[in-house]
Symmetry: C2
Subunit: 467 residues, 2 copies
Amino acid sequence: MNAPESLRKPLPQAFIDTLSSRFGDRFTISAGVCAHHGHDESHFPDALPDAVVFPHTTDEVVIVVETCREHQVPIIPYGVGSSLEGHILAIHGGISIDFSQMNRIVELHAEDMDVVVQPGVTRKQLNAELHGTGLFFPIDPGADASLGGMAATRASGTNAVRYGTMRENVLGLTAVMADGRVIRTGGRARKSSAGYDLTRLLVGSEGTLGIITELTIKLHPLPEAVSAATCAFPDVVAAVNTVIQTIQLGIPIARIELVDALTVQAINRYSKTTLREVPMLFFEFHGSEAGVEEQARTVQDIAREHGGLDFEWASRPEDRSRLWAARHDVYFASLNLRPGSRGITTDVCVPISRLADCVAATRAEIDASGFIAPIVGHVGDGNFHTVILVDPENPEEIDRAEALNHRIVRRALEMGGTCTGEHGIGLGKQAFLLEEHGAAAIDAMRLIKQALDPDDLLNPGKILPAV
Amino acid sequence: MNAPESLRKPLPQAFIDTLSSRFGDRFTISAGVCAHHGHDESHFPDALPDAVVFPHTTDEVVIVVETCREHQVPIIPYGVGSSLEGHILAIHGGISIDFSQMNRIVELHAEDMDVVVQPGVTRKQLNAELHGTGLFFPIDPGADASLGGMAATRASGTNAVRYGTMRENVLGLTAVMADGRVIRTGGRARKSSAGYDLTRLLVGSEGTLGIITELTIKLHPLPEAVSAATCAFPDVVAAVNTVIQTIQLGIPIARIELVDALTVQAINRYSKTTLREVPMLFFEFHGSEAGVEEQARTVQDIAREHGGLDFEWASRPEDRSRLWAARHDVYFASLNLRPGSRGITTDVCVPISRLADCVAATRAEIDASGFIAPIVGHVGDGNFHTVILVDPENPEEIDRAEALNHRIVRRALEMGGTCTGEHGIGLGKQAFLLEEHGAAAIDAMRLIKQALDPDDLLNPGKILPAV
């Protein structure tokens, strides 16, 4: 995955000198640091940047960008490296901008339920800092991702069915553009019709249009009551039909997650739980005491109609934490099913009415393929993942897994869905992006990219298929 | 407001011939039809297009765009003409594309709670067609606007506090771009991380980046129970503080509207109601029977703490309809306070904690100005309007009203707000857009505009300030 040597040029000495003298220890070309920044959670081979810089301010990012422009050096923004699609891999070399030292809460406006943060703040850090305010940040992709990275990939996760994704929860951004200028998009008003929606254009642009250096984010009141539960089902279709009906009734459920039997087996092994090894739904309800009870009762009735085998409650906070920790560890629990493997993670999202068909057909196709691949899903949104376990040293196996992924994506597209609900395009899904949106839309994206980054310095090689 | 003759060129005969032979009666240069399409609900002087065309399909829009490109004729999309910011005025001449004959529901997916519509479908038409499905389209800007126009201006209205704006409710679009190519953005999945968010870029672009020819829109389950109420307050600040606390508690209120004393007076006169002529809030609650009761009880308690004088319920559908009809007629009721006047409508939106200060200071400023200008607001979002009544024949008065508008906008910007919550930039707010977002962000918008519409044929002169 490293670029051919013709594309990957050595860093000019003048570039190194300029940034060394400006940033001191916070600029490095050390092999160890570069190696750390050339590796993410995807199955793609490592691709190392030639240097790493740790800025503290937007102005410092401007200096980096201007120096990169002068010397035509690629720029890759780096959060915590939890990408599943190779976003942070420096496939054409260049400099990684590590935001871990830009991790301040800039301004908390509790009374307006918004917060201004630097991009290196992680979601857990933010929620820890919100302790005692009565507010929380609900978006939870599992990993303790940075908010900058979550915005850049339009992340979501288990709570999106109720609280939306980064698309709905980023109110405004500060970004350094390829020309070194700083723009401020959106604002703190809850809605605005003032000009082009640059906020939403940058959210999900994976570092290719501008470098996010500050985010204004919506917060939500902590619910008065929270309750979680699990329910076992005779098969995946019964579980998914429970989801479909819950959504169609407009029940404001906070989380509704599918884990298939193989996933439950992985969880039991990894998290030392004793869940029944059949398809399950994990639920969470938020609201007033009465509201939560009412929601739970309705969903329980729906589950029963679909053969739900029992409903186990986790009302104590520690039980809920254990439940969601187990859910969050599914990726690592899955890898554990085949020691030494890496995961090729699929991420389709379909209209909810097609979800049962899509999951069932995917499960059958996986079983026929011989791969070990658990299925989990944020099924309230129609989004589910398979983690196809591959031997990273076996190219034939990787090819077969990618062909399986392609079939899964093609089915989702035929059902009116998308190739990626929340992980982004990165390196591996560029052909799918073209299949999904067609050449004219991709060309429109490319015109925007060329207009805003004419030298192709911002995270080059990501999102847009090569021409 | 008509362009200088140098900019407004007569239509080439070959252009007229091409479209006449292609569209027959559905293409016209008739003075009457052009006059109708050169007039909106704003205070700006009429600006007539040179021709009007009534397409039936996306392919026909492509033909129009290609013919316009060949002859360099400006293109102005037209819904129902309810714009308040001059969006549809043909200030540089050109052709108005009237979408009234593209008003079909293309596909209803009740089980997925989405619908694909042509842009000429109006919101009331859509809701009529949804009758019996258990679903509705909540966004309600007052006017029976077209959905294409609502998307183009990122419209919202009374229900946005609960259901979001067009930004949150448009899932995907078909659009004809300036080069005549058709793009399909977004899709029917509830979320996606697939590439740049062209949907959100087109929503709110006011016809300047592409011409929307189809929309996929989220629908919502009709609530099991609905209840509406009014409450009178001793002053505007008490009313707004009730709103702030309601929002901060996370109560999922569906509508929470402020009408000030002058507005109530206008409503009583125009709608023959007998409301107490003091500041009031109009509420609507959606949910389960128990949920609605619980919400209403909580809000009633909050209102009482802030001196709410009484709470009058409108639980029967016909009482609710009357209440909201009166609210929707506020614009016309206001004009009626000064016969022969036109309204200059302000549209600021501020963070909720600043709303009471902002409304109070605005009211005081209006009173000092001598203008008649009622205040109404979608206050749950921090958004409120004043309708400054001016004599359209009196330029001095219009100048003074615009200076007042400018002071109102500047205060909102100082409070972290926006110059337009929902009406858009159009002709009149371009200087405010620059104040709000700064030159670098405007330049980024301009780069996008130039990349996607290099000949500046799509609704020229709107949104972006002239360079």
